[in-house]
């Protein structure tokens, strides 16, 4: 029933208690926005879901996180398999220094998939889904680094889609982009919602309003309020949330 569920999750970096007892559920095919001031833990929380925090020194966590009812921090979890199901798009576009084509198929190549017809079809399908196909279809061998920032970010989304995840995590995907590229990415998120479950960290509250169904407000490691975006933006339950939303602090 739930796509993602966390119960009593606490995260420590060494002695630093950065996530405090967070329990929340995410339904499938929804867009959930994580908002909050800098350092509130929203990016850390996001990275728990595909275990990218594993690479940080001193990281430890308690509690449970379930994706499709499987605990992802159990000993039996194969991290590489998890990351194919739960993809991630980063704040600064990070295309590989390869061609556009090779960028999109990278996730498939490392799984050993070599069939050219399949790869070609995947490249077209994912670039279409990422609303980038028309701009690059004439020269897929061009270096990805020659694309503009907004195009690079859509390329990163395309390559994430290529491994066929069911969840897409986005860590401030548009914060490094100009307004036109940002609105293109937001439209993309709105369309992708039909097939994927999306969780997006954003500093930009208006963005959370535009794209998300539910919003979670984090503050200093606590999950302060988590509700329908409509409710949070018209009549939040807690005054702290209201103060943040109206820009009166943070």
């Amino acid at each position: 029933m739930y796509k993602i569920r966390t119960t009593d999750v606490n995260v420590f970096y060494g002695d630093n208690h950065v996530i405090k007892n967070v329990s929340m559920e995410v339904m499938p095919n929804t867009v959930t926005a994580l908002i909050g001031p800098s350092g509130c833990g929203k990016s850390t929380f996001l990275r728990l879901l595909n275990r990218m925090n594993d690479y940080i020194d001193g990281f430890s966590m308690t509690g449970n996180i379930f994706v499709d009812n499987n605990e992802i921090y159990s000993r039996k979890t194969v991290v590489e398999e998890l990351r194919k199901k739960v993809g991630m798009v980063f704040q600064k576009p990070n295309p590989f220094p390869k061609s556009i084509y090779e960028n999109v198929v990278y996730g498939l190549r490392i799984q050993g998939i070599k069939n050219k017809a399949l790869l070609d079809e995947t490249v077209e399908r994912c670039l279409v889904q990422a609303a980038l196909w028309n701009e690059v279809k004439d020269d897929l061998k061009k270096s990805a680094l020659a694309l503009s920032g907004g195009q690079q970010q859509r390329l990163c989304i395309a390559r994430t889609l290529a491994v066929e995840p069911t969840v897409i995590l986005m860590d401030e995907p548009a914060s490094a982009l100009d307004p036109i590229s940002t609105s293109k990415i937001e439209e993309l998120i709105y369309e992708l919602k039909n097939k994927y479950t999306i969780i997006i960290v954003t500093h930009n509250m208006q963005q959370a309003g535009r794209v998300s169904d539910r919003t979670a407000f984090f503050y200093m490691g606590d999950l302060v309020e988590y509700d329908e975006t409509k409710k949070i933006f018209t009549n939040p339950k807690l005054e702290r949330t209201q103060n943040y939303i109206t820009g009166r602090f943070g």
Binding site: S183, E186, E187, Y190, Q206, G209, R210, V211, T229, K230, F233, T234
Partner: protein, 224 residues
């Protein structure tokens, strides 16, 4: 189409639906009056609930759109206009319901002479016509049509201003129809307000499409 465009489309659909219901309330009201059809009048009273439900929904949707999308320019003017037109339509719905109540309340049928001398049917026709014009002007984004409404409303005011004399004369001639006559006078007063509400609607439409504010100007000025 963007997410905002989708929401604005839904909003337009909803307000057009409310427009349709309100128009139907007035048209049925006219029929109920002419045919003295009290069952139809009771239906009109029951339908008022739908009108209110739509009004609440549209209010809430406008609030959400403001909160979630921060619309600007024409989108902002559109949502502001819809918010106000929403209230206007709801009041017109109230008026239609009020007229229907008079039909239910009275004991005997309104005489044809009474209806004819007071021009109340004409008022009905005029107000239905004006309301229909506002609906078309909004849907087709026709500000020229919207501007004709101000002059049309003058006609309604004319009938209204002579109504009390006409009714007074009639009561003198037919003192047994006192109650019915007074009801007809009330109906005329109410129907005149349909004109006022429609004028407000027209002002909002012109504001939304042209960003021009026509409030508090004379009818002649508005025509320009």
């Amino acid at each position: 189409m963007t997410h905002l465009d989708t929401e604005l489309q839904y909003l337009k659909k909803d307000i057009m639906e409310l427009w349709k219901i309100t128009q139907s309330q007035l048209e049925r009201g006219k029929k109920a009056l002419i045919n003295f059809d009290r069952d139809l009048a009771r239906q009109i009273i029951a339908t008022e609930k739908r009108v209110n439900a739509y009004e609440l929904k549209i209010d809430r949707d406008c609030e959400n759109i403001f909160a979630l999308f921060n619309p600007v320019a024409i989108d902002l003017r559109f949502v502001l206009a819809v918010l106000k037109i929403n209230s206007n339509l709801e009041r017109i719905g109230d008026i239609a319901e009020g007229v229907a109540r008079f039909v239910v309340d009275v004991d005997k049928q309104f005489s044809a002479e009474l209806l004819e001398k007071t021009h109340v049917i004409q008022m009905f026709d005029l107000s239905i016509d004006i309301l229909s014009d506002t609906a078309v002007a909004f849907e087709k984004e026709d500000t020229q049509l919207a501007r004709t409404i101000f002059m049309k409303d003058e006609k309604l005011d004319e009938i209204n201003s002579t109504a009390s004399y006409k009714i007074a004369d009639y009561i003198k001639a037919h003192p047994d129809q006192l109650r019915e006559s007074l009801h007809v006078l009330s109906m005329i007063r109410k129907l005149e307000r349909v004109g006022d509400q429609s004028k407000n609607i027209a002002e909002e439409i012109i504001f939304y499409l042209e960003a021009k504010v026509l409030k508090h100007l004379s009818a002649k000025q508005k025509q320009e």
